[in-house]
Amino acid sequence: MSNIRKFDTKVQHLKYKVLREVARLAWNDTLLENMMDIPMTIVPGKTPTMRCCVYKERAIVAERIKLAMGGDSSNPNIIEVIDIACDECPAAGYEVTDSCRGCLAHRCEDVCKRGALSFDHNHVAHIDKTKCVECGACAKVCPYSAIVNRKRPCQNACKVKAISINESNAASIDNENCIQCGACVYQCPFGAIMDKSFILKAINLIKESENNTKHKVYAIVAPSISSQFTYAKLGQVITGLKELGFFTILEAALGADMVAVEESKELVEKGFLTSSCCPAFVRYIKQNYPQLVPFISHNLSPMATLAKFLKECDKDAKVVFIGPCTAKKAEAQLDSVKEHVDAVLTFEELQALFDSRDIDITTLEEGVLDNASYYGRIFARSGGLSDAVAQGIKEQNLDFELKAVPCDGIEACRMALIKKAKNILDGNFIEGMACIGGCIGGAGCLTHGEKNKAEVDKYGKEALEKTISDAVSMLDMMK
């Protein structure tokens, strides 16, 4: 099958090709000698297909190579702008287009509370930028859809308003406000914003393990994988991971089960809590609502919880987390997490790794992945964490009336946090997920689709263990 169909967009496909070629050379220990050939491999010939000329295309590929190799180490942000790839999209805000017919009704003028609309001698509308506050009301009422919002897709995607335009007219990320969710990475139509990759770290861990004899390399995969690699079976992805050289594969959902047990106890003890699973949400609270920080659950995320547990069982273990999330890459660098998780990859990067070794997962036998319960698995979608905490309370016979507020996307999170800060929130548990839909909406997913939530629920129901306590009961004897 064609590679492009494995992804939502051609931007992802381009990013993937660079990652794949970097990985291919890294496996062969020839990256440093041959990395300068990659731009020619990806942009051969003389006819440009993406930009003004092949030379610019190759220059941008060279920038992608840097990011594929870990990016700018002086920049703490996982998300970086590739300046020369930014097409400097129009960013003028609301504008009247030539679809304006100069009508009589002037609904736009009537609806504008700021008096920003005026009309020329042809009765055509104009917006006074000094008065406009970009509320968008005029665009909504125009019967000809003649008023458009010329906002850059990156700025539109960034709901925490961390992207501005710098003096050279390129996008610029404010590291203080950025939550590293990767929404801009996925939304930029020119692929000018990219997440740093740690594929080289993962490849090195596998190579240095010498077939898992020096140390064992464990892969922990996020439950959202059930909605990914739709062209193959999940079991084939698991076998593919073993072919890549991982010793064994564990479900992050088992870590989620462990979190559900602890988080429900913590909630009952404290009376109010916000979840700590989504690193972008946690970062958002710390940056914007410092007064609410004491309410953030003290639990590590499912990824870090399971990784920590693994290393307690096998002190030489190396752990690679594979998921849909760019913010997890940042989480893995936190002081409280870095000793547990050695590298974080996205599903996009996993696809590149498979193909860098010419592993066609559709031809592989199906392996198995089954440790967690239904509840651990549904953490991957909005609302799942709340369900799991409710179940945790029930299974442990805790006396507590849960009133969960599942927040789907960072804007919903913000609304709940504002209310909590004012003490008018009707609820005692905020489930915060920065991405719309939850983790299945993550920027590192190969594909995003309507059916992904149903896929996660189906995967949840397939779990051998039906309760959280059964899933975690095995772990006590491990230590």
Binding site: I249, L250, C313, D314, V368, D370, N371, S473, M477, M478
Partner: protein
């Protein structure tokens, strides 16, 4: 004596939880708690032979139905 049971995905599906529960019961019945240490691991690299169990490093293939027999021949006999 140390008995290690694999609880990785493949063995888990083949019933490692039942194997562990039965072993725990047998150990308790025979009052061998101070002589036998029961542990777990996430993979022994022999998934086809699961449920994978080791008794002081010796590899054994066990199923929920053969736990009693395994306990007689490999555990009690070796104590």
């Amino acid at each position: 004596m140390k008995i290690v049971v694999c609880i990785g995905s493949s063995c888990h599906i083949k019933g490692s939880r039942q194997v562990v529960e039965k072993l725990q019961r047998l150990i308790a019945e025979k009052n061998l708690g101070d002589k036998i240490e029961l542990g777990g691991t996430f993979c022994m690299g022999q998934c086809q032979k699961g449920v994978c169990v080791t008794v002081d490093e010796e590899f054994c293939s066990v199923t929920p139905d053969t736990v009693e027999e395994f306990f007689e021949t490999k555990v009690l006999a070796a104590l």
